[in-house]
Symmetry: C2
Subunit: 288 residues, 2 copies
């Protein structure tokens, strides 16, 4: 734990450093910076592994509380970011270290015809985590004010109303004992160019590439503007945004792990107390 | 790879050794045996880790084929076993090593009122894996001929019809490009007693214990009989059963990993070929 303790100034250093505050300007944040962490790449990778057990343990306690203690407490991690910003790697290298039984990942793709025939939160609600689980959204309801806004997929007056709808929705989740952790992985346009280039260089990565990814790069400024609006308008006290500089993959992974840890620690989870007489059950078992 | 290669006699040694064949008698199989593996515990643990990358790689290829090659191929791992047989540990230590985005685990609990109002396969069908995914069932439709049969939860003539229904259902999955891998974790009654006792000894494991678990031990012979019937009657050529001796957790985990590997290797998966001109896309990217 040594490497990360060096960097800790408060109980929630990553949440403090990465939280979007009044007047936040996305373009002012350096995507190569490493807020709340003074170490280098190797330190960051080591810190990630050092905290693996704690994250797994807290996840198990969260789950145990739902099974043995009837708790409704659950966590929803919302991950947004431009193409190649590292959402998939995060699922694998952070979320993947937790017991898969305690996690429910949903990757929201282009909506289907059926999904489009319903209000935009319909498909989101269906994938909310059950009590005791960590739900993870790889893209989310925010696409409905990001890609939809950039490409005018619905009239402006329609997407404009969605910010308030999202705030109400998220407040409802928080009121229902859900810890909502919203993360934007922030990469630079130059870094995206490099990452797309590497996909084109490797035949085993071609399946991840789509020529449309390059078309989307033309809309980079419009996307940044749409992100800025989402960060400004859906940043409530109970469900704030965290913007994670993500040009360095190792940092982004560590930061999201630490954000999860800080939120889980704050729940002060306890093992549920047995609702049976342990000695009596031991005697019963002995007789079988 | 050395340790496991020593033990390999055919291309599919675990599938060959563990497959249920005509005349198989469950009670004749020693739950402490380690078919197809001559190593000890440390060798088994090392072999599990050594094959982690291959399993991850094959899973990625399976997923890539669905995204980039329109393949409908998917895998369904069905895991059955008595309480404490190690289903949860398998999810964590074998399935958990694969990219969580490629896996969909469902733990089937006691059916809800809504589920009971539908045919027994209704809730199962809703959780079948999508193309490219590895679906994992922690308990399954087999509960409808196991706990249901042992406790007469439906009339005998009703559960008796289910074996044929299950065979038709599974044939349909196989016809729809699903590799069905059915595993029974086989523990002894004495081992279960030890494992329940250890749960009672540890306050952080009390939440996993239920006094009903001891009541169920009285039905041990009836459960073994119900398992034998399921193994006999739902053991088709295209969706055979594999019985994994599970008193040694390390062996059971290795065996299920190897069964998955052997099935995935047999699919001869290839990276999909790009459906775009790679050089042209590199030029387009360079211009952005």
């Amino acid at each position: 734990m040594a490497k990360i303790k060096r960097t800790i100034e408060t109980d929630r250093p990553f949440a403090d450093a990465l939280r979007v505050r009044e007047g936040f300007v996305l373009s002012d944040l350096d995507p190569r910076s490493t807020p709340a962490f003074t170490g280098k790449k190797d330190d960051g990778k080591a810190a990630l592994l050092e905290h693996d057990d704690e994250l797994s343990g807290l996840q198990e306690k969260l789950y145990a509380a739902s099974v043995g203690g009837n708790s409704r407490r659950r966590v929803l991690l919302v991950v947004q970011g431009m193409d190649t910003s590292g959402k998939g790697g995060l699922m694998r290298h952070v979320v993947g270290l937790v017991d898969p039984q305690g996690v429910q990942i949903t990757a929201f793709k282009k909506p289907t015809e059926e999904e489009l025939s319903h209000p935009f939160l319909w498909r989101i609600r269906k994938r909310l985590p059950e009590p005791g689980k960590i739900g993870v959204f790889d893209r989310s309801h925010y696409e409905d004010v990001l890609v939809v806004r950039v490409h005018d997929l619905v009239p402006p007056q329609q997407w404009a109303r969605r910010y308030a709808t999202i705030n109400d929705f998220e407040q409802g989740l928080v009121d229902d004992e859900t810890s909502v952790v919203k993360v934007m992985l922030h990469i630079s346009s130059a870094e995206q160019k490099d990452r797309l280039g590497r996909r084109l260089d490797r035949p085993d990565k071609h399946w991840k590439f789509n020529p449309g990814d390059i078309d989307e790069r033309e809309h980079w400024p419009a996307y940044q503007e749409a992100y800025q609006a989402a960060l400004d308008r859906c940043n409530s006290e109970s469900a704030p945004w965290f913007v994670v500089p993500a040009d360095r993959k190792w940092y982004a992974r560590l930061a999201v792990q630490q954000l999860l840890l800080e939120h889980l620690r704050a729940l002060d989870l306890q093992w549920p107390v047995a609702d049976f007489d342990v000695q009596e059950q031991k005697k019963r078992l002995a007789r079988t």
